[in-house]
Symmetry: C2
């Protein structure tokens, strides 16, 4: 049976130290993978590429927060209540199953969007049974996907969770960072780090992991100004969108549209969302994933995360799994900051001065103490006046206008009518305003992206495996190969090896086996250039360079290596410009 | 009350986005800290410095394994049984306390090394009570410091733990990496990543964390050859050792000794341990921690981790806490691989071919079937012969010699004597040997090192705070400051900003407040060079450069900035060589 590209990549990954199942000697646990020496550098190169594009070039910042957080955080963020999968159990063999998957398996579409009741109804209607023992399934219930831990011990302990996303770290520390970053908006705060989700039965290898690396990029903005000046540099770039409307009409038609037009037509809600979608597309392109194998799918209202007002999932076409989400672009509004403000009692609003102070007409409430005393007694009147002063005057005015009364929450509910309150219009000078920033969040799954990079880099040529990675991603840039292990060739080769190491290039010295075998080894892990040292080298100091892509060879003087290679790896020279062809 | 340097650093850390307590808006949880934008880059620079020194320069490799691991791993590694603190509880207020700390607090030395019984005896003898409510303390018991999680759900679940060290990842994947790294020894496999330990009551800020970043470097070696050729380059380097002998004599006298002499005298057990101790000392030096503020303390036999045969703790002098461990250098022998081999049943030995095949005399056992049949019956004789063929012949020969019999474990215990077995000496040809590699492990606490770096970089000058970091660690390399925000200065400044950004320098543009204030801001986060753009710049394109260390200023043409600054940050030019002094 011929293996698909996924199997080939996992096989290569195991053999060459790229990626492999964790705890293999104990049989492994699904959803856990490790990166070997080559995979670790490849992963870091991908992260560094992202960092350059999104953080350095945009003048944004990065933080590192903890993976374990106390339960208050996830209570406020909504994850305790909403971050669940619906599962059912076999009443006979106690097998645990995701209810939506069971329905998907019998051909029911979009089952992952259905609510618990609806899922159970369909299970019953279609008489779905345990696939293992044909037993009856129990009523479904939500299962929280966070790993729980106990912080401290016994009576002094509290519940905590391993973070299912990195973003909460940014929200919790936002105020501090906003201040140390001189109160500028938009302010993008990135975080690259590990997260964990207790998936019920992960099956898709490195695509659905229980532990994974996320890049969460929270861009805090003024909700009255969602513009991004640099949009002008990319406004004619085209995006490939699969909008919600098409999906609702059972179509998967791609709309190719400039970001400018998408913004004008309201298809993308704001410039910040649009700008970083363009950047995300460029990012994947730079990683070797062609444009026509990417698309942005707009999430339907009922499949958006609990915090999002608009979401586009960036998807990549993978041979085994079809369109697969690798990043999400969500407009999280002020959902998180507002909830943390409510739950912690800490003011997370920012203050922004107007260019010059503004005169504004403001409704000011004056309690009519005599009427209130008459209706509620003298003692209560004081309390009511006090509560009123702390309430939102805008809301009170609106409710008095609309409903004719306002219910004040004290120890008891107190109904205030127009007769109890004078509304006076006062002219005031305001020098600025306070508001909760909104958040636009591009969020990337590093492991999925890495897998996609491998899939698009993988090719076979003359029965050999070649990993044709983009130049900047190469985990090893150069192989140094003495033709034979005698007559001074290894010594000369080691000299060159050392010289290139000092140039901060990643170099491997390899002297075992035939040259052909060593070339093949280099190709398998995507080494762009092999340098061979032979007898001629000892005479005239020239070496042979071999290109991974064309297998072409050129001959150059070893003295010129540092200078030429530096230019080559900065994409300033092509391979055939490096020396004389052989 | 005057604040100590720790308080000053934490204050600076909060104000300038370096390091601060996590979940502050919820009151924080002790043992959890976050890194802000400046701290995150500083931390990464420290890690990258380590990587260069230990991985790239030594031709070693790095991997990334999971933080959550199933319990089998920690059963085999001994952490389930041994990774504990001894705690007691107040029978009145249920307060949880570390028993050894209670004794340390009343002046008993080295309490952390005592066993549970001994601790309880001292608690009773000294009538130690709950410091909070004076209640009676319960009998002490061990408390495992690993955070436990449940992987999967209900019947399909298994216990897992958040890793308390990264090292197990290397042990589990060793065989795979050994093969993909072309079976070379010594093979160093590094891992830089987060770990978690459920400390009972962490109090020392970023020094004792519940979540922290570790660098675990497992160097796999041939136990018959613990030499390291590069030792010859450092053999005259001096190490500052506090050996076990001195400590046992209640002395803390430092021995200054070359690594060569320490190896010859057996004070350091092997070259690999010694070589990487020299490197660790150089590493801290490069980070700005002076030699005389460092020492290696040899761990006493009873305070070594359960897996170690010799350990040196690298300690740094900190103002609040005195000598503080920042790295450990342990000779872990084959403890971990051996246990994983036993528990998993997977052969983790490596094979090494001899230079040429060796002739060896070997004892070969031949069961005397007639005698065995007579004593145990014909059927059993077959089984016995079979069991014998699978047993370790060396052990059987030894026992027959020493005890006169050997007990064979089958379904029943069978006693075999010399009469049952012929021992024949055969000459055989062996082409290599199989063995379990030994492990030397340098292991670094990144957070502690970062804190030490801050402490040694922190100084006050003319009532201003200056973070005088080593050049290569600077989280921000350059501040760009237009003198005023009008008349074209910001435009010119942004041009220069962009130019230096393109040179991959980390640059910040800052135009608010007076120049003096902006200099002060730059000093606080350790920006080595400030570049000021003034009216003269518009005329002759020159700018002023200011040095963080001397506050000296030089004037240079902005065209020369990329070239000169690149050299400066590679330590190839001094500041005063950059231009004309002002």
């Amino acid at each position: 049976m011929s293996r698909d590209v996924y199997e080939k990549i996992i096989n290569l990954g195991k053999r060459r130290g790229i990626i492999f199942p964790a705890f293999e000697i104990y049989g492994g646990v699904s959803g856990f993978f490790d990166y070997g020496p080559i995979g670790t550098v490849l992963k870091r190169n991908i992260e560094e590429k992202w960092r350059k594009l999104f953080v350095y070039n945009e003048g944004m910042v990065e933080i590192e927060s903890t993976l374990i957080m106390p339960s208050q955080v996830y209570n406020a963020s909504g994850h305790l209540a909403h971050f669940t999968d619906i599962m059912t159990k076999c009443s006979k063999c106690t097998n645990i199953l995701r209810t939506d998957k069971l329905l998907t398996d019998i051909g029911i579409e979009n089952a992952e969007r259905l609510k618990t009741d609806e899922l159970d109804r369909l299970i019953e209607k279609n008489d779905v049974r345990c696939p293992k023992c044909n037993g009856q399934l129990t009523k479904s219930e939500p299962f929280n996907l966070m790993f729980q831990v106990e912080i401290g011990t016994h009576s002094g302990s509290m519940n905590g969770f391993c973070r299912p996303e990195a973003a909460q770290g940014q929200f919790l520390a936002f105020k501090r960072i906003y201040l140390s970053e001189r109160e500028r908006l938009p302010l993008g705060i990135a975080q690259i780090g590990r997260c964990a989700r207790n998936e019920i039965a992960p099956r898709k290898g490195p695509i659905r992991l229980r532990e994974f690396t996320i890049i969460d990029f929270e861009i805090f903005v003024d909700p009255d100004n969602l513009s991004y000046p640099k949009i002008k540099y990319v406004e004619h770039e085209k995006l490939r969108l699969l909008v919600a409307q098409e999906q609702l009409a059972q179509s998967s038609k791609i709309m190719e549209i400039t970001v400018k037009e998408a913004l004008e037509k309201g298809i993308i809600k704001n410039q910040i969302l649009g700008y970083f979608m363009v950047l995300a597309s460029k990012f994947l392109n730079d990683l070797g994933i062609p444009e026509n194998k990417q698309r942005f799918r707009e999430a339907l209202p009922d499949e958006r995360a609990h915090y999002s007002q608009q979401t586009f999932d960036q998807e990549v076409w993978l041979q085994r799994w079809g369109w697969t989400e690798v990043s999400g672009h969500a407009y999280r509004t002020d959902y998180d900051l507002r909830n943390h403000m409510t739950c912690s009692g800490v003011d997370l609003r920012v203050y922004k001065a107007f260019d010059k102070p503004k005169k504004v007409a403001k409704n000011v409430l004056k309690p009519k103490m005599d009427v209130i005393e008459k209706d509620y007694g003298a003692l209560n009147a004081q309390i009511i006046a006090n509560l009123l002063s702390k309430s939102d005057h805008k809301v009170i005015c609106r409710e008095l206008n609309e409903k004719g009364f306002y219910e004040l929450m004290g120890q008891h509910l107190i109904k205030l009518e127009s007769k109890h309150i004078d509304i006076i219009v006062e002219e005031m000078v305001e020098s600025g305003r306070k508001f909760i920033p909104h958040v636009v969040e591009p969020s990337f799954g590093v492991d999925r992206i890495l897998y996609a990079v491998l899939e698009y880099a993988y090719l076979e040529k003359k029965k050999r495996v070649i990993l044709e990675l983009p130049l900047q991603l190469a985990p090893v840039q150069i192989y140094i190969l003495p033709l034979v292990t005698k007559n001074g060739l290894p010594e000369k080769a080691r000299e060159i090896f050392k010289m290139l190491l000092d140039e901060s290039l990643t170099v491997i010295y390899d002297e075992s086996d035939s040259i052909g075998r060593r070339y093949a080894r280099a190709d398998e892990i995507g080494v762009p250039i092999c340098i061979t040292i032979d007898y001629l080298t000892l005479e005239d100091d020239t070496v042979t360079l071999r290109d991974i892509k064309s297998w072409q060879q050129v001959r150059i003087n070893s003295r010129d290596l540092p200078n030429l290679l530096r230019k080559y790896f900065k994409n300033k020279l092509r391979f055939d410009q490096l020396g004389k062809p052989l």
